[in-house]
Symmetry: C2
Subunit: 262 residues, 2 copies
Amino acid sequence: MVRNQSYWSSIEVDIQEYLKKAIPIRPPVSVFEPMHYLTFAAPKSRAPTLCIAACELTSGDGSQAMAAAAALHLMHAAIYTHENLPLTDRPRPKPEVPHKFGPNVELLTADGIIPFGLELLARSLNQTQDNPDKILRVIGEITRAVGSQGIVDGLHRELQMDRPDINVDRVIDYVCKKKEGELHACGAACGAILGGGDEEEIEKLRKYGLYVGMIHGMLNGNGKNKEGLMEEKIEKLRNLALKELENFDGKKVELISSFCSA
Amino acid sequence: MVRNQSYWSSIEVDIQEYLKKAIPIRPPVSVFEPMHYLTFAAPKSRAPTLCIAACELTSGDGSQAMAAAAALHLMHAAIYTHENLPLTDRPRPKPEVPHKFGPNVELLTADGIIPFGLELLARSLNQTQDNPDKILRVIGEITRAVGSQGIVDGLHRELQMDRPDINVDRVIDYVCKKKEGELHACGAACGAILGGGDEEEIEKLRKYGLYVGMIHGMLNGNGKNKEGLMEEKIEKLRNLALKELENFDGKKVELISSFCSA
């Protein structure tokens, strides 16, 4: 397990290094300083790491999925920033989140981070063996996962959580699926696409990512106040996740499977 | 001139039709109803129309640039929505803008519109004669124009407009260049890329779009309270714009050149 921890950590370090190079603090500083800050201020999601691990599991080199992993982190950071924006109808949703910049700048900066992530990916062509079809497919995957049929749908549903006519348990499941679930599903699928996995492998890793993301959503997000009730669900999701890895083999399976045990 | 007006109008109708089909009001209605509404509530930008006109000027068929034009409108609509979001540090910047939804929903919805526009483009592959390199290039162009080196930079600079140490005239020029200028430049360049223009034609149309966008920015946006001062600048920009069209010929030149005269 120590080895697996170091596997994730080393991937995370690589992604951070790549992002630091991609977003230097340069003129105009009023734009790039908050962009740099907000990119690294967001708590880490495991979706980018999973993207690299899935690429390696399908016999790719991690570097082939680096731009996609960075784009996934940037999407996550932008959404996290907007989730914590003080709006007039939710003045301070999470008072524990520090705001280094004013709401105006945080809004704008995250609006710049989203296209920047996709620009990184669109311009990664030469580094990744001239596979424009794969990169376009990955852009389609990421835009779908973070958009109105993915995270944005989850966030919309989250707004309804306080309504008296709502079945909170069902909403939590839906939100975990749409927010953390689809981002991780997308991460794993993109890694498999770029690593050269076949369609069956891509879909198996997509499902694996979905379950892993839902587990993390339940442990860290919406489910965290309902520990007792969640345990059973999480155990079920973990079994479903591991089942998706059954047809893969080699040392990398052990590495990627530990994503759903911590 | 009447004929030219009808040329623009017919392009605008085509883009609207394409968008209506792309964003039907469907489940989840809480997501797609505001998405549909906010897409069409934004005042029209001419950047998408210019994209189709540039495609036709470079001998392409307008339909080849339709997804790019739609993506440009979606970026513009998302940014317009966020610009008018009531934030705690700018409670109601433009009271004349009606808000059909709460700030939370408007924030989220525009966050869904940005990736949706790029998803449309990424998935437009089969309709446009299998040119993944061109589509990737266009995605790179659009993400750059709307991101931290384009519109977002302009919006950042706009926030500084009230500072006492600022040369307002110079800021207006910069903001018009970054906001309207770069979106129109990008629109014209993307149209030329998709229409099959060569690099020289792409760059000439990019510059043409830049000047046209700046003129519109000055007439409709930041410059509009300083009419006297602006007239001279606008005349200069119009001459620069028309100069970029000198090497093109045929009936389409007359059509596209009228973009900078109204």
